[in-house]
């Protein structure tokens, strides 16, 4: 069996490379590893598995489908079958069945490695998204803003809350604006999360304003019967900033369109 594979290496690999869309060098390397495994009696597959994992990973990253990835391995069966048929010896055919079984195992392994690699990519991206989507920006001395974009769930609100509170401690800010312009929908759960954040900030001695409430969201909140209590809400970030200015004693004068003079009042 091993001899047959070795003798026809050139032919089989060429046929294989034709039938599947993959670089010939990669397939040749894989072919030699499989050949090595067969000649050793199929005991140690660690090298082979490593090679296949690498192949699946690179393909998962580039965006091949799982079928395409495992087909790259299964393609070897077809390529080799042509050689076996030409020989037509019973002994060789028996060997081919063993060989096919090995290839099946390898194909399934490829599929598994592919799924694992894909899952890791998704997890990494989710983590990156979480980091990306929750910046705390300083608007003014003592005024912070948290522009929220996208759907809020418990995990994200937790991150937002922690980041905001830590920023309050770091900067010593007494005012924070939570801007929900980019939040597509507010339900009871999201509102609950927002309220918790505001209360936690209050416990630390900072005032929170919620801004960017769109008409539909105001409607939903009232319809759902959510009580915002004495929490200040504003329609735009600008209004919220003006409110924070007033509360912290900063005066804005002049026409905003031409020039702005801002003077902080000494307490």
């Amino acid at each position: 069996m091993g001899e047959l594979l070795r003798d026809h290496e050139e032919q089989v690999v060429n046929r294989w490379a034709q039938s599947v869309d993959a670089p010939r060098d990669e397939l040749l390397e894989l072919y030699r590893a499989i050949l090595g495994a067969i000649e050793q009696g199929g005991g140690d597959l660690a090298d082979l598995r490593g090679l296949l994992t690498e192949l699946s990973r690179s393909r998962a990253r580039v965006g091949y489908s799982p079928a395409e990835t495992s087909k790259a391995v299964f393609g070897l069966k077809g390529a080799f079958y042509e050689i076996v048929v030409a020989d037509a010896d019973t002994e060789v055919l028996r060997g081919f069945i063993r060989f096919a079984r090995l290839i099946d195992d390898l194909g399934l392994f490829t599929f598994e490695a592919y799924a694992e690699a894909r899952e890791k990519i998704i997890m990494d991206q989710a983590e990156q998204l979480l980091e990306l989507s929750t910046p705390v920006v300083k608007l003014w001395d003592g005024i912070l803003a948290v522009p929220l974009i996208g759907t809020l769930d418990s995990a994200r609100t937790q991150v937002v809350m922690e980041k905001l509170l830590e920023a309050l401690v770091e900067t010593g800010a007494e005012h924070a604006v939570i801007d929900i312009t980019g939040v597509p929908a507010v339900d009871t759960q999201v509102a609950q999360h927002l309220l918790k954040t505001v209360f936690a900030a209050r416990l630390m001695g900072a005032e929170c304003v919620i801004s960017g409430i769109r008409p539909q969201i105001a409607h939903t909140i009232v319809t759902l019967g959510i009580e915002f209590g004495d929490i200040v809400t504003k329609t735009s970030l600008a209004d919220a900033l003006a409110h924070a200015f007033r509360r912290s004693g900063v005066q804005v004068s002049g026409r905003p369109a031409t020039h702005v003079t801002v003077r902080a009042e000494q307490a």
């Binding site: 809350m161 010593g172 007494e174 918790k196 936690a200 209050r202 416990l203 630390m204 001695g205």
Partner: protein
């Protein structure tokens, strides 16, 4: 058992809690503080919990109780220096301490009390 020291600064009392309190010392602190407010005629009480890392519902309620007690004795109470983790825990426990004034640090707490006391006088 260690008692929490109560410091006097002008007409303010400053309580700095440096250790994680057990229930018994919380009760003792409440009594000590009430007695100190009366005997020294304090107008404001600042409770600094910047060193407190662990809270439970009992400690949370202690803060509310002290604040209410001070109000009865005509003094304003401010809790200062609460850590983010502590704030999150209290909110998760459902204790938002509605009637308690808070400030970010001791300095801001003193400023707040001066402001409040100034308007009251």
């Amino acid at each position: 058992m260690d008692r929490v020291p109560i410091l006097k600064l002008g007409d303010l009392l400053i309580v700095s809690i440096q250790v994680d309190l057990d229930d018994q010392s919380v009760l003792v602190l409440q009594e000590d503080l009430a007695a100190a407010v009366v005997s020294r005629g304090a107008k404001g009480v600042i409770i600094d919990i910047s060193a407190v890392e662990i809270v439970d519902s009992f400690t949370g309620r202690m803060l509310a109780t002290i604040a209410a007690m001070c109000r009865m004795l005509d003094a304003h109470a401010v809790v200062v220096g609460m850590r983010p983790a502590v704030a999150i825990t209290l909110v998760e426990l459902g204790l938002s301490l509605g009637g308690v004034r808070t400030a970010l640090d001791l300095e801001k707490g003193v400023a707040l009390l001066n402001h409040v006391g100034g308007t009251a006088r």
